[in-house]
């Protein structure tokens, strides 16, 4: 083969492989969604949202208590975690900037963003469950809060940095203190960006299983007591999917479908919001 032919063949080979890789990645996503839809839709019924998780070998059950528990713990997780993330992000963007402390916080936050969630579960177990002597929904919610902080912190800082400097200067020229500028000018200007961060944080924590295993545990019954174990979708899916009972496995598939659709909807709306924001930004 000529040298030119060899180079062309090599080029075609690697470019072909890259297309194969992309096709394989997309196929994996499609395969997972397809399986979830076929298995999950089979179990979709009103009972799913009106009945409690059943005992083994009973077709008379739903996921109401698990859905409720997941919603409660995710909500508390966001309510506790996101203000901390937003405030810390504000510190990095407005006060700390390039100080040594801010650089350290930024670095540690990026590490926490990728840290295994099971470690956070062990941490909350050590500082809360051991002290209190029992598993509780509160401990579960707090471990989710710890996981929500890095996501909101990072997006808040990035979004505050996108606000045009002129807006900040104008506010300062009117005699406003930085806190007033931040609350009345910067937060409103960066609102959709910060909301994106919150959506991503909800998406991140609502599917977390590992940290809940030894904090919130699980509960077969309806419970609104934050000081007691509480059912939640991920742990129920884990437990039911690995059980030998067909009804439990069916519920696990339905729960998996509910969780995935929720998270994909959240991620897609976050991305849409961000795309709108960038379009606005470039028009300015």
């Amino acid at each position: 083969m000529t040298r030119r032919g060899y180079r062309k063949a090599k080029n075609a080979l690697f470019l072909g492989l890259s297309m194969v890789a992309t096709a394989a990645g997309l196929a994996a996503l499609a395969a997972i969604l397809f399986t979830l839809l076929t298995h999950g839709l089979a179990g979709m019924s009103p009972a799913l949202f009106t009945r409690m998780t059943p005992p083994p070998d009973s077709s008379q059950g739903g996921l109401l208590n698990a859905i409720f528990g997941s919603a409660v713990m995710t909500a508390i997780g966001i309510l506790v975690g996101s203000p901390i993330g937003v405030l810390a992000g504000t510190y990095l963007a407005e006060y700390g900037r390039n100080s040594r402390l801010a650089t350290a916080v930024r670095f540690i936050n990026d590490v926490l963003l990728s840290a295994p969630s099971i470690i956070i579960g062990l941490f909350i177990y050590e500082i809360l469950v051991v002290r209190m002597g029992h598993f509780s929904a509160l401990a579960g919610a707090l471990s989710l809060a710890v996981l929500a902080i890095p996501v909101t912190l990072r997006t808040t800082e990035d979004m505050l940095n996108l606000v045009p400097i002129g807006m900040k200067d104008s506010s300062a020229a009117l005699g406003a203190y930085p806190w007033r500028t931040t609350i009345s000018i910067l937060y409103p200007a960066a609102r959709s960006g910060i909301v994106t961060g919150l959506l991503l944080a909800v998406a991140r924590i609502s599917g977390e299983t590992a940290p809940l295993l030894f904090t919130a545990l699980n509960n077969q019954f309806w419970s609104t007591n934050l000081n007691a174990p509480m059912a939640n979708l991920p742990v129920v899916i884990f437990q039911f999917a690995l059980s030998p009972y067909a009804d439990w496995q069916q519920l696990a598939w339905s729960g998996a479908l509910i969780i995935t659709l929720t998270i994909l909807a959240l991620s897609i709306s976050a991305r849409t919001l961000l795309a709108l924001l960038h379009r606005q930004g470039s028009g300015r």
Binding site: R7, N11, L15, L17, S18, M19, V20, A21, G25, A28, L29, I32, T35, G85, V86, L87, A88, Y91, L92, Y95, G96, F107, I108, N109, D110, V111, L112, L113, S114, A115, P116, I118, I119, L122, F123, Y125, I127, V130, P150, R154, T155, D158, M159, Y177, P178, W179, I183, G207, T209, A210, P234, I237, F238, A241, L242, I259, I263, L264, S267, L274
Partner: protein
């Protein structure tokens, strides 16, 4: 306009101080959390570390009846599953990033990019349940018998593919992990490739280079730090991934030469056994496993971040 009211100004200064303190407190809390994680794990792991000493890391005995615990099988499983995952996900992620930055028609660039990122948003338990009920049976029926028949008798590597096709096991866990970390690696590499100045690439093409030659000789050398950072970030995820692995690894505290055999990883051992652990030494040993995982993943992720931080920080790349 009226002159500044001194009382108003004093009030403003107090608010300023309070707000600043609140933001600073929140920022310090992030540092505190990491410190707290390290200290609490150390405290929880202390009884086991004290009892077994350094032998905890080198012993492969894991027996809750005789209260003998060693981490070697779990460390082995964690490293091998992650190695399989990286062997698959790094070339595939590189391919996807290459496709998205150099080959993809502009109309498809965004949808495919979003699809890859959505794969990253799917919770790990979904990968677990899919791996157990869909992937494992396929591997057991079609892939593993072929591996055993064709690679089993081969000298040296044959040992890796012997024994019955269980479906679940080290290899399956590695493949599921590969699918999970693929979007992280692909998205990071894509963002890094995007930062290569078009001028450099155009110069390559101007000299008559093929697309592949431009990628291999211009794009890759220019973005080396980012590529390594992305790979390490993916590795950090793979090492610590819990639920997906727990479903398909088989949970056997045994080191087998064969990749088809069941095994265990640090995180899956904790997830499986923690709530059932009776006795302080058992619980403490599991927390000691957690401490090991923390040290390993922290080093890998910190190294990855150090490499990536030099590059432009872009929102949402690692979420």
């Amino acid at each position: 306009m009226a002159l500044i009211d001194p009382r108003h100004a004093a009030q403003q200064r107090i608010y300023e101080r309070l707000f600043r303190a609140a933001t600073l407190g929140a920022a310090l809390l992030v540092l505190l959390i990491l410190g707290g994680v390290a200290l609490s794990l150390l405290k929880g792991a202390w009884p086991a570390l004290h009892h077994f000493g350094f032998g905890f890391v080198t012993s492969e005995v894991w027996n809750e009846v005789t209260d003998q615990f060693g981490a070697l099988t779990a460390i082995y499983g964690t490293l091998v599953t992650s190695a399989i995952a990286m062997a698959i996900a790094v070339p595939a992620g590189f391919g996807i990033a290459l496709f998205l930055t150099e080959l993809c028609p502009p109309v498809l660039k965004r949808p495919i990019g979003v699809a890859v990122e959505l794969l990253a948003a799917v919770p790990s338990i979904i990968f677990g349940i899919w791996g157990l009920f869909v992937l494992a049976p396929v591997l057991q029926r079609h892939v593993q018998p072929w591996l055993i028949a064709h690679l089993g008798p081969v000298p040296l590597i044959g040992k890796l593919f012997q024994g019955p096709p269980f479906g679940i096991g080290i290899l399956t866990a590695g493949i599921v992990l590969a699918i999970m970390v693929l979007p992280f690696i692909a998205a990071t590499m894509r963002d890094v490739f995007d930062t290569v100045p078009p001028m450099l690439k155009e110069s390559g093409y101007g000299l008559g280079a093929t697309t592949w030659e431009v990628i291999w000789n211009v794009v890759v050398p220019h973005s080396r730090a980012g590529i390594v950072g992305g790979i390490m970030l993916g590795l950090g995820r793979a090492l610590g991934e819990t639920m997906a692995v727990t479903f398909v690894i088989g949970n056997a505290h045994r080191i087998s030469a064969s990749l088809l055999a069941p095994g265990t990883t640090i995180s899956s051992a904790i997830a499986n056994e923690f709530t059932e652990a009776v006795g302080d030494l058992y619980t403490s040993s599991l927390i000691a496993l957690g401490l090991l995982l923390f040290i390993i993943t922290f080093s890998v992720i910190a190294a990855a971040q150090a490499m990536l931080q030099r590059l432009e920080r872009r929102a949402l790349t690692s979420i």
